[in-house]
């Protein structure tokens, strides 16, 4: 798995004050995998994902994060070349993070910023190819009809699909999705999870998704990485996640982490 690793995290730690959000986490992700990152609230899932995209620094020390063989950050410093990595890594946020007052079209076109000439991107003069790519992406995720609407007039599910379209226009090879369905109703949540699965299965994208509800991990992912208090406590196939392991991860109230009932 390590020889074809597109993402590699080695010994990453991150403290917020006295609390350790990440405590010596190591993780290797191979091309084309779809991985669920689970664990109770505050276990460090989001911190890990944000660190991989260089949105946040890890503690100085031995920790190293690499993507596509190049450094994202090491020794507590974000690499100067982080933008080259970010261009190839799409990030989906729990709160969608579209710019509310811009149209859905413009929001999705922002995905091309790293690829088109800097001046065009700065002035918003989207090239023909970008415009076509935006409409194709919007149509693929099923929200092309709303292209001209301001993002903040759309529902959560529509915005999240817009965010996925942005990652498509970005031509991302890896999608990092931080609680992509936690703010959505069940129907929208299923659509978003199916889109992510589709990107993985059809387009061969590598997907790492943090999930609150273990149901989704069971249904959509083959490999699960579980975090607890900043440490990796399970990393393996979804079948290995039995009742004992779940109690180990979530404690005796582990059934709360399911929507539709825990496995016996």
């Amino acid at each position: 798995m390590t020889d074809a690793a597109v993402l590699s995290v080695r010994n990453a730690s991150k403290s917020f004050g006295p609390r350790k959000a990440l405590d010596g986490v190591s993780l290797s992700v191979a091309r084309g995998e779809m991985i669920a990152l689970i664990g109770p609230s505050g276990s460090g899932k989001s911190t890990l994902l944000r660190s991989i995209s260089g949105l946040q620094t890890i503690d100085p020390g031995a920790g190293v994060i690499e993507a596509f063989g190049g450094p994202v950050q090491a020794g507590g410093k974000i690499s100067r070349k982080v933008r080259d990595t970010r261009i190839r890594v799409g990030f989906i946020f729990q709160q969608f993070n579209l710019v509310g007052r811009l149209s859905l079209f413009t929001n999705v076109a922002l995905g091309s910023l790293g690829r088109i000439p800097m001046l065009r991107g700065t002035l918003g003069l989207w090239p023909r190819e970008t415009q076509d790519a935006v409409m194709a992406a919007l149509s693929r995720v099923g929200v092309a009809d709303y292209a001209g609407q301001r993002a903040n007039t759309l529902s959560g599910g529509q915005q999240q699909r817009g965010a996925i379209a942005r990652a498509l226009v970005q031509k991302a090879k890896i999608i990092l999705a931080d609680e992509p369905v936690a703010s959505l109703d069940p129907v929208s949540a299923r659509k978003v999870m199916e889109l992510l699965t589709d990107l993985n299965a059809v387009d061969g994208l590598t997907v790492v998704v943090t999930l609150h509800q273990v149901d989704y991990a069971l249904r959509y992912c083959k490999r699960v990485v579980a975090l607890k208090a900043g440490k990796v406590v399970y990393d393996g196939p979804i079948d290995g996640l039995d009742r004992a392991r779940l109690i180990d991860i979530y404690g005796p109230e582990f059934e709360d982490a399911f929507w539709e009932g825990a496995p016996k």
Partner: protein
């Protein structure tokens, strides 16, 4: 129930101890003491003169009630000039305030840049536009341009502060969303920050245009052109009917600008 009755009778309304009231007493006592000390120097004792010199006041009042609009074309054109001074002053101020407002914002600007810029903006803000206007009259001569520059610098400092406060209250999420696409820092600002602050920025700029049309009138008094200068000349000639007519023109114009700008601002937010 009966058992709790004596207890509730013993409950007293909350009282504030002397120590808790001390700050209030200190503040109010201080204000009153300050007013008493200042009574003499500002010659409040001359208040009765307003009424004992009633002959002057009556003459003044009668003339003011008979506005003389013979030169109304001049007044309107001078008022228009004043509005133009305010417009250019505000516009240049906005151009100053956009970059300075961004570099003064704590959440997007590094401390080594933000601290000196904040000091510079404080300096601009703390010099009244009248003083800046006098300096520019020395530098570029009497006339509207001195007024434009005075408004531009002072308002630039004010707007930079307001703009940076607007930037400091934005939602970080969309900015991270833009950052995650591999955008440059400038692109993060243009696509992630500006759209969030645009309505508030426009509202502040319009509000400053409103108050600048008043300030531009006052700037005329020191020779920076416009209706203020005309007003000053009529006052110096004791031509109160003209003063009255000019005052009416100013009030009408400023009220119209206020109403217009408030309507636009209400639509922005």
């Amino acid at each position: 129930m009966t058992a709790t009755a004596p207890q509730s009778a013993a409950l007293r309304p909350p009282t504030r101890s002397l120590a808790q009231r001390a700050p209030d007493i200190l503040v109010w006592g201080g204000v009153i003491a300050f007013l008493v000390i200042s009574f003499g120097p500002v010659e409040i004792s001359r208040l009765p003169l307003l009424f004992s010199n009633s002959e002057n006041m009556q003459q003044f009042g009668r003339d003011l009630l008979r506005p003389d609009f013979t030169d109304w074309k001049l007044y309107v054109s001078q008022m228009w000039l004043t509005v133009q001074i305010a417009l250019w002053g505000t516009c240049l101020a906005v151009f100053l305030a956009i970059p300075f407002g961004l570099v003064c914002a704590r959440n997007i600007s590094p401390p080594w840049l933000q601290q000196p810029m904040r000091l510079l903006m404080n300096l601009l803000r703390s010099i009244p536009d009248l003083v800046i206007g006098l300096l520019f009259i020395v530098a570029v001569g009497l006339g509207p341009f001195a007024g434009v520059m005075a408004l531009a610098l002072n308002t630039g400092g004010v707007l930079a502060k307001l703009f940076s406060e607007a930037v400091e209250s934005i939602d970080r999420g969309p900015v991270e969303g833009v950052r995650a696409t591999g955008a440059t820092p400038l692109q993060e600002v243009i696509w992630g920050v500006i759209p969030q602050v645009a309505p508030l920025w426009s509202s502040y700029a319009l509000y400053r245009f409103e108050s600048n049309s008043r300030s531009a009138t006052v700037l005329g008094l020191i020779g920076a052109g416009g209706i203020g200068q005309t007003l000053f000349e009529s006052l110096n000639g004791f031509n109160y009917p003209q003063v009255s007519a000019i005052a009416i023109v100013i009030v009408v114009a400023v009220t119209l600008i206020d109403m217009l700008s408030q309507t636009i601002r209400a639509r922005l937010l």
